[in-house]
Symmetry: C2
Subunit: 261 residues, 2 copies
């Protein structure tokens, strides 16, 4: 890793929180953390060596050659407009859905999209996280790929269009999956059943899905058209109309998908 390479993070959220220290460990220097809220920037900066916290976007005299924009999607465009850099600097964002071209005013631009869910209070092992990259030119691509290799086990090149599709798939397999677990936990909690007892079932569900394919792994009342059980479940959800609606919608969809296969 080129010791002289210095990075600035624009944003101090969940991803920056984990990625900045990981990059520092491999030899990159993290020069600055920007946040609109200086307290947030400082909280991350103090986890790093020789790193300053800033709340302005004028980096025209910064020593950093790579700027990682890790802010909410809707803020990327605004940040890009305000960001002042040395013209040779590379700017990447880390969004799944936002096109690389939101950074169109920078010659050397790219994307660094780690396919993972980050929470500040849960450590992450980047070496098992697949990274999807994009770059505006060969120079940027080389620099981004070098950075990728230093922390992530594997990286793939993916267009903005396909990356947004991948992000949509991630919402289903991560956010919606987590929500299903949340609903299951609510039901377990209401009945004094420890949620942890569901862990082997959930682990087997995902092992099976990645082993034989989710389209071959479905079990339960919907796929076997067991209306007796589905009716009993709907009756149990009578006092929670929103959840009952979700139960009905998903059960119908499982049945319809199975017909279509």
């Amino acid at each position: 890793m080129p010791n002289e390479t210095s990075i600035t993070f624009i944003g101090s959220g969940n991803l920056a929180w984990h990625l900045a220290p990981a990059l520092e460990k491999t030899g990159y220097g993290i020069n600055a953390i920007y946040s609109r809220d200086l307290t947030n920037a400082a909280a991350l900066a103090k986890r790093l060596k020789n790193c300053i916290a800033v709340d302005h976007l004028d980096f025209s005299s910064s020593p950093s050659s790579i700027f990682i924009v890790a802010v909410p999607d809707k803020a990327i465009g605004t940040v890009a407009k305000q960001l002042k850099l040395n013209k040779d600097a590379i700017v990447v964002h880390t969004s799944g859905t936002t096109a690389m071209e939101v950074l169109g005013s920078f010659k050397n631009r790219g994307v660094l999209y780690p396919l993972q869910t980050f929470s500040k209070n849960k450590k992450i092992d980047f070496s098992s996280v697949p990274l999807f990259i994009e770059a505006s030119n060969d120079y940027s691509k080389t620099i981004i790929a070098t950075l990728a290799q230093s922390v992530f086990e594997k990286h793939c090149y993916l267009s903005s269009e396909k990356r947004s599709q991948l992000h949509l798939a991630a919402v289903f397999s991560c956010n919606f999956n987590n929500h299903m677990l949340h609903m299951a936990k609510n039901i377990a909690d209401s009945n004094d059943i420890p949620f942890q007892l569901l862990a082997p079932l959930v682990q087997e569900t995902i092992d099976k899905a990645f082993d034989i394919g989710p389209e071959n792994a479905q079990t339960g009342p919907a796929i076997r058209l067991d209306h007796t059980t589905m009716d009993a479940h709907k009756a149990m959800l009578e006092d929670n109309p929103e959840l009952k609606e979700i139960y009905i919608t998903l059960s119908h969809h499982i049945i319809n998908q199975n017909k279509a296969q």
Copy 2:
């Protein structure tokens, strides 16, 4: 394990397929497999020692002292009416949602509900599966608990009412979770992105849910009220109205649940 204890399975589906050989391994004798379709019964019987396949329910002269009814929920009542047994035999069903009282005509009755998803083409390690039992009397409870201990690592006593709630939680955390993975795979497949690349994300999602609780683990566009991304996703689902509806319903529910917390 009492070598003289002989078991008959009523049903030859996914659960019987895995549980019958597992019980045989611990010293139980599996005497007979019943299925309406003799071919199905025979397919399982031939995986076992000295086991016959039958398509009738008159077991009045059977050497079995335990009968495990592992048929679809809606068939349990019908089977219970037709089943002829020695009056001291124990009859258990394996359903999550069906009350034990569907077996009310048998003095020694119970339930053996393994909280797991079973597919014939995927091996299962019962020692990590939590088992929920119920029994009509102490005699049955002792016999059922002995059987439970022989194959399952842990078992808990749970009433019919709470068991049906647990089963509902299982539908959310297993069947609906698998369906989310199915939808994610469809999106990945349509874009030539290997589904396996989503495995670390999904593993981290469930690790985090059981580590810090799903209510503390949610990420993604809905929880951060990122309407830019949600609108982009909805636009991408324009030609799949059913899936778009699921996306909208679940996103709203994530937002509402978060408000309610």
